[in-house]
């Protein structure tokens, strides 16, 4: 940020909110210098903890304060980066141009619930876990359960087009949004609601990653708290067989809440996390992450860092075991008891017809119990010079296997890659690739990391896939926006000009200036 813009910024902001909620202290600037983008974590492992710190951090408590802050920023030409909880994995909150980091977590109030319309309104800084508690104690659920539910906010979900684990039943966040309050890049407060004429503004601000404005409040669709959860595990010989089963099930009109099919390696990794085989026997542990990542890390290192000789042999053993592990499908229904029971009955018959082996409820219940575990243990991987990241892309059923093979091949040239298929819809599905690679040199690790993304996303787009299904774009995929949207990018640039004429909102993200 130019020094002229910086001078007096804190004083100017103090006109908008209390000084105790403004900080330019080094520790705060460091804490807000990055999100959980794994490329940044490679840097952290090499001591680079604050790649691009903001100049100032602010914690507004009201929409009026947010509007006043944005107006200060407009007047001074200073960037503003909205910040939810920083759980993003794409660099979307990296203040690459410095400026004001606008943390919304003090705007965390429950506003209203309408049991007739089945909607609820919250301020956008509310953390997911707290939001769900507010609903559950009133007898409702939002049905949005990202693995990061404890460390992400409603605003972050909306801004990044998040998906929860029960998306097949409840939809992604964009399916839930009913209305937004937004402070645009010119500091104007607007409410979207349900427009009957013109663009659907909800769907324009959803996914905008802070580049068009700050979402301060949202009304979302909710559901009654489920009476039952019916979980089950299934085994399929190959991913293609499992996918065919899921497709048929959804196209017959069934709506399980949870659908997760692991490919052979991902199944094996899940399997490793158990103290015994998960194959359906009650009392035994079903898939879980403990230990699995350690093994994965060792395997990845052995592949990526050739001098780790003995581990390379372990990796070969691992692949041998993988080829025999089959594919695990975790499937669960939730909601009204009578409807879910009927759905499960119809669904089970369909899965058996498609060649699935019923493993009983244990693997499903075990997954449910541990569904938030795995993600928090990843950082260990980085300590040894390896990296792990996930690439979530989606396409229609017609192209799904082609995309799976293409991305696996492309990323597999640089790193170890596995996948599971979750977020399934009647017309298609998302694939969640996990890839692990590394090098003891930072530059080399970053080169390999970038190659994984470059080749993986080209492969996904080439196979009619999307550049992202639910993590968003941020910095990591900004260079692929043109390829994803083609000439439609002209419309995004026009939106930016209209809603953020000063160009201060989260610059450099989404492939925008």
């Amino acid at each position: 940020m130019p020094p002229a813009a910086k001078a007096g910024l804190v004083d100017a902001l103090a006109q908008a909110l209390d000084r105790t909620r403004i900080s330019s202290a080094a520790c705060d600037r460091t804490a807000y210098a990055r999100d959980l983008w794994p490329r940044g974590l490679i840097g952290v492992a090499h001591g680079d903890v604050a790649p691009s710190p903001p100049d100032v951090v602010v914690w507004p408590e009201t929409t009026a304060e947010v509007a006043a802050i944005v107006k200060v920023a407009v007047a001074r030409g200073v960037p503003v980066v909205p910040f939810g909880a920083g759980s993003g994995v794409t660099g979307a909150t990296w203040p690459t141009h410095g400026g004001i980091m606008l943390d919304l977590k003090r705007m965390n109030r429950f506003v209203a619930l309408d049991g007739d319309a089945l909607t609820a309104t919250f301020e956008c800084g509310i953390v997911g876990e707290h939001l769900e508690h507010e609903l559950v104690r009133r007898g409702y659920t939002m049905g949005h359960f990202p693995s990061s539910i404890f460390c992400s906010t409603l605003g972050g979900w909306l801004a990044a087009r998040s998906a929860g684990q029960a998306s097949t039943r409840y939809g992604k966040i964009e399916d839930m949004v009913q209305g937004l309050e937004v402070v645009t890049g010119s500091g104007q407060v607007v409410r979207t609601g349900t427009s009957t004429v013109g663009p659907d503004w909800n769907q324009i601000f959803v996914g905008s990653e802070g580049t068009l404005g700050v979402i301060t409040e949202a009304t979302v669709r909710i559901a009654r708290a489920p009476e039952v959860q019916l979980m089950r595990g299934w085994e399929f010989a190959r991913p293609s067989a499992g996918l065919e089963a899921i497709r048929r099930l959804l196209q017959r009109g069934l709506r399980p809440a949870f659908v997760r099919l692991y490919d052979e390696i991902d199944t094996f990794i899940a399997h490793l996390g158990t103290s015994g085989p998960w194959r359906g026997r009650a009392g035994r542990r079903a898939p879980g992450p403990d230990g699995a990542l350690d093994e994965l890390r060792r395997a990845a290192l052995s592949l990526a860092i050739p001098h780790v000789g003995p581990l390379a042999r372990a990796a070969l053993g691992l692949f041998d075991r993988v080829s025999r592990s089959g594919c695990l499908l975790v499937l669960g229904y939730e909601g009204d008891r009578a409807l879910c029971t009927a759905e499960e009955q119809v669904g089970n018959a369909e899965l058996v017809r498609a060649g699935g082996r019923d493993l009983g409820p244990a693997p499903g219940l075990r997954w449910l119990e541990h569904r938030y575990d795995i993600s928090y243990k990843q950082s260990k991987v980085f300590h040894d010079g390896a990296f792990v990241d996930t690439m979530e892309v989606a396409t229609t059923w017609e192209h799904l296997l082609e995309m799976y093979e293409a991305v696996k091949r492309a990323v597999g040239r640089h790193a170890m890659v596995m996948a599971h298929f979750s977020h399934a819809y009647p017309e298609g599905c998302s694939i969640y690739f996990t890839f692990v690679g590394g090098s003891s040199s930072r530059r080399e690790a970053e080169r390999i990391y970038d190659a994984c993304w470059r080749d993986g996303l080209h492969a996904a787009l080439g196979a009619s896939g999307t550049v992202s299904h639910h993590h968003g774009i941020g910095l990591s995929k900004a260079g692929f926006m043109q390829e994803h949207h083609g000439e439609l990018m002209a419309m995004l640039r026009a939106l930016k000009r209209v809603l953020d004429p000063a160009g201060i909102m989260n610059p450099g993200k989404l492939g925008l200036p």
Binding site: R161, Q203, F205, R224, G253, A338, L339
Partner: protein, 440 residues
């Protein structure tokens, strides 16, 4: 000017696909009003539309996407006959030759078709493959896809999908700068704002939709129909809505007041359904895998009983189903005594009450049903009866009452929409005057 435009446009589409004849132009105007343009062109592709646009631009003319036959409205325009006549030469673009189904992906259940195909024609192609767009009101099928998607139509909704634009996964469109754009087709994405939503509902003002990709579904393998009588309309409505709230994915449901039930379901010599005088009839269709449809029917029956309903057997529902599939259901769009009032779910009961009191105050009789219910809303369908003056009075009063409950069509970011139009179409070439509505 018209002749010049005609000649220039003919070089793009061929002379047989362009006309300045009054009889041709009159097809696009309400009877007795001047045509909305000087030249009509029938292009065969998006590329041709882009070239026609270049010609129009080069000659200071505007471009207006229209559809023929209704003699009432421009594609997507908000009110019958409301497409304003631009003060400069205007080329009308009618995509009636663009009726191909480009790809039917039976694996993903998506259909890709040109914008000029009507829902009905597409439905015929789909039906041959055991597929359907869904249980939308029949009037949705009368429109070409382009017109269907160029305006948000909350009244054209199906129980499982909601309003029909929710079935759209992608479009191709011609923008004002002549670019032909294609939105990427995927079940969902997280690649920034959903830019598709700038083209849907934009009344041709931000781009002319030339093709669309729509979700389709398999024709359900079984169907269970049921009917319940209630002492009151709100009671019947609440029972139906309760099923939706419980998560039952009903295929269709409708509430008739006693008069409408007697009129709609009691003709043809058969006895009308057994509904109390001030009461209502809830009819419902559960469709899908047999066991599931049966389970949904049980949930419905439970809810029906809990809300004071009595089972009147399947016959009235079967009658309803035949009506809704055989003929135009509900008041015909062109009937001046018919009103279709979309509203969110919680507003339906107050809207119904307001309709009844407005027509009573105007000394008109009305028959009412509540249909096209989905988890976001539904429609109150009103048919007015009585002498002409009281019908007209009731008509106006009902619209006023509805406006206070559900509001007028609006764009909450009207200024932003106008600014976006100015950026994308600085010459104001595309459907001038479109998207001009009151802010919410």
């Amino acid at each position: 000017m018209s002749e010049l435009l005609q000649r220039l446009v003919a070089t793009v589409v061929g002379p047989q696909h362009v006309s300045t004849a009054a009889a041709d132009l009159a097809d696009y105007a309400p009877a007795g009003t001047p045509p909305p343009g000087d030249v009509v062109v029938w292009p065969a592709s998006a590329g041709e539309i882009a070239q026609v646009l270049e010609v129009a631009k080069g000659n200071g003319a505007a471009l207006l996407a229209v559809r023929r036959g209704t003699r009432r409205r421009a594609v997507g325009s908000t009110r019958p006959g409301s497409a304003p006549r631009p003060a400069r030469p205007t080329v009308l673009v009618d995509q009636r030759r663009m009726t191909s189904v480009l790809h039917l992906d039976e694996t993903s259940l998506v259909a890709h078709a040109q914008a000029g195909i009507t829902g009905r024609a597409l439905e015929e192609v789909l039906g041959r493959r055991g597929l359907t767009l869904g249980y939308f009101p029949l009037e949705a099928f009368a429109l070409p896809l382009g017109a269907l998607l160029a305006r948000r139509r909350p009244e054209l909704a199906a129980a499982r999908v909601g309003p029909i634009h929710g079935a759209c996964l992608g479009v191709s469109a011609v923008l004002a700068d002549g670019l032909v754009v294609h939105s990427r087709v995927a079940p969902r994405h997280a690649a920034g704002p959903d830019l598709l939503q700038l083209l849907l509902g934009c009344e041709g003002g931000l781009g002319i939709i030339t093709a669309a990709v729509l979700r389709v579904r398999r024709i359900p393998e079984s169907r269970t129909l049921s009917a319940f009588a209630y002492p009151t309309v709100p009671g019947a409505l609440e029972a139906g809505v309760e099923c939706l709230r419980r998560g039952a994915r009903l295929a269709a449901l409708r509430v008739y007041d006693a008069a409408d039930a007697a009129r709609c379901l009691g003709d043809g010599g058969a006895e009308g359904p057994d509904v109390p005088a001030a009461g209502a009839l809830l009819v419902c269709c559960c469709a899908g895998p047999t066991e599931l449809a049966a389970a949904e029917a049980r949930v419905l029956a439970d809810a029906a009983k809990a809300f004071g309903g009595s089972d009147v057997g399947a016959a009235p529902a079967e009658h309803w189903w035949r009506r809704r599939t055989d003929s135009e259901e509900g008041p015909a769009a062109k009937d001046p005594d018919a009103l279709v009032l979309p509203a969110p779910l919680p507003a339906l009961a107050p809207l119904h009450a307001a309709v009844v009191s407005a027509s009573t105050a105007a000394h008109a009789r009305c028959r009412v049903s509540i249909a096209r219910l989905h988890r976001g809303g539904g429609c109150v369908l009103v048919t007015l009866e009585g002498d002409k003056r009281s019908r007209e009075r009731a008509h106006d009063r009902i619209l006023e009452a509805a406006a206070t409950i559900v509001g007028e069509p609006c764009d909450p970011l009207r200024e932003a929409t106008a600014a976006l139009r100015a950026v994308l179409d600085p010459g104001d070439i595309m459907s001038p005057g479109s998207l001009a509505v009151a802010p919410c």
